[in-house]
C-alpha cells in the first residue's frame, strides 16, 4: 500500500470541511480501504466529535510529533468501520506546535500501511493551512454556493497553485435545489465556472447531516440520505470511477432548462 494524501480545505470556516473529511473517510473505508483521517485544526478540534470518538482520545497529533507516544497509539479506530482511523488534533496547543515538515514526515510514516490519508485543514490561509497542505498529493476545496464562501475558495485555490499543490478539485456543499430553482442561489455550474477547477462533488443540503452528526455517525452510513449518497459518489470519483452527478431535483430538468432559455445571458 502507498496511501494517497488528500487535504480538504476551504478558506472560509463553517462550509463543511470536517463533515466532508469524515464522510469521505467513512465512504472509502466502508469499501474496505485502509483510511486515516487527520484533524489538522489544532486548538479547535472537531473531527473527533463528528465521528463520535471524543471519549476515546488518549494521544493526539502533537503527542506523536513531539514523540510522547508511538504513531500506532494515536490511531483511534472507528468501530463501525474497522478500517477507518482518526488522529485527533491537540486541543490545548496552537498551530505553531506543528510544522509543514512534521506533517510530511507523519504522512510518510503512515503511507505504507494505508490506502488513503485525509487531512482536515483549519480555516484561514495561515500556518495551519500550510501544515495541512504540505503533505498533500492533491487538495480538495469545499465551498457553499454563497458569495463569501466562493470568494474565499477562489483565494485559497490561488494559494494552492502558488504552493504547487494545484490544480485543486472542487466540492460544492449545501446546495439547496429549491432555492436554485427559484433563482435565489448560485447554481453549481456557475460556481464551477467562476472558480475554474474540476468539480468532483455536489452535496445537497440535507437535514440528515445534522442528525447523524448529533449521533456521532457519518451520514454516508445512512442509506437514505441524499447528502450521504453524494459523498459516496465523491469517494467513487476519488478512486477514478466515473459517476454521474445527482440531479438536484426532478423538476429541475425541464424547468431549469426553460428558465435558462428565458433568462437573458443566463448561460
Amino acid at each position: 500500500m502507498n496511501a494517497k494524501v488528500i487535504t480538504i480545505t476551504s478558506g472560509k470556516g463553517g462550509v463543511g470541511k470536517t463533515t466532508a473529511t469524515a464522510n469521505l473517510g467513512a465512504a472509502l473505508a466502508s469499501e474496505g480501504k485502509q483510511v486515516v483521517c487527520i484533524d489538522a485544526d489544532i486548538g479547535l478540534r472537531n473531527l473527533d466529535v463528528v465521528l463520535g470518538l471524543e471519549n476515546r482520545i488518549v494521544y493526539d497529533l502533537v503527542d506523536v510529533i513531539e514523540g510522547r507516544c508511538r504513531l500506532s497509539q494515536a490511531l483511534i479506530r472507528f468501530k463501525k468501520i474497522p478500517t477507518l482511523y482518526l488522529i485527533a488534533a491537540a486541543q490545548t496547543r496552537d498551530k505553531s506546535a506543528v510544522s509543514p515538515s512534521d506533517m510530511v514526515r507523519l504522512c510518510d510514516e503512515l503511507r505504507p500501511e494505508h490506502d488513503w490519508i485525509l487531512i482536515d485543514s483549519p480555516a484561514g490561509i495561515e500556518r495551519g493551512f500550510r501544515n495541512a497542505i504540505a503533505p498533500a498529493d492533491y487538495v480538495i476545496v469545499i465551498t457553499n454556493p454563497e458569495v463569501s464562501a466562493v470568494r474565499d475558495a477562489d483565494r485559497i485555490i490561488g494559494l494552492i497553485e502558488a504552493e504547487e499543490k494545484g490544480p485543486a478539485r472542487l466540492i460544492i456543499n449545501r446546495v439547496n435545489s429549491e432555492m436554485v430553482r427559484r433563482g435565489e442561489m448560485i447554481t453549481p455550474d456557475d460556481v464551477t465556472d467562476l472558480l475554474a477547477i474540476e468539480l468532483i462533488g455536489i452535496i445537497p443540503e440535507d437535514e440528515q447531516v445534522i442528525v447523524s452528526t448529533n449521533r456521532g455517525n457519518p451520514v454516508v452510513l445512512d442509506g437514505k440520505s441524499k447528502a450521504g449518497l453524494a459523498f459516496r459518489n465523491v469517494a467513487q470519483r476519488l478512486q477514478g470511477n466515473k459517476v454521474p452527478f445527482l440531479e438536484l431535483d426532478e423538476s429541475k430538468g425541464i424547468f431549469g432548462r426553460i428558465s435558462k432559455l428565458i433568462r437573458p445571458g443566463g448561460n
Binding site: 490561488g158 497553485e161 433563482g183
Partner: protein, 88 residues
C-alpha cells in the same frame, strides 16, 4: 414557472444572478490585486504613452480585464485616428 412570470412582469433580477455578476468582478480584482481605480490610472498612463507615438481616439479607448479559466488577461482596445497621409 415562477421565473417566467417574474420575467413577464419585469421584476428585479433574482439574487443568484446578482451574486454571479458581483463575484465575477470581485474575483478578477482579488486575483490580480488591481483595483478598479488602479485600472483607470493604468488606462490613462497607457493612453499618454501611446499617444506620444500614434494619434489615437483617447475617449474611445477601453481597457478591460478578461477571464479565461483561472488566467486573467488585460485587453486594451485603442482606436487609432485616420492618418493624414497613408504610406502606400
Amino acid at each position: 414557472m415562477a421565473s417566467f412570470v417574474d420575467r413577464l412582469i419585469r421584476r428585479k433580477p433574482r439574487s443568484a444572478e446578482r451574486a454571479r455578476e458581483r463575484l465575477q468582478l470581485v474575483l478578477i480584482h482579488d486575483r490580480t490585486d488591481l483595483s478598479p481605480s488602479m485600472l483607470e490610472k493604468l488606462k490613462d498612463e497607457l493612453i499618454q504613452v501611446i499617444s506620444r507615438h500614434v494619434d489615437i481616439e483617447a475617449e474611445a479607448a477601453r481597457i478591460e480585464m478578461m477571464r479565461e479559466g483561472r488566467e486573467q488577461r488585460l485587453i486594451a482596445d485603442i482606436p487609432l485616428r485616420h492618418a493624414r497621409h497613408t504610406r502606400g
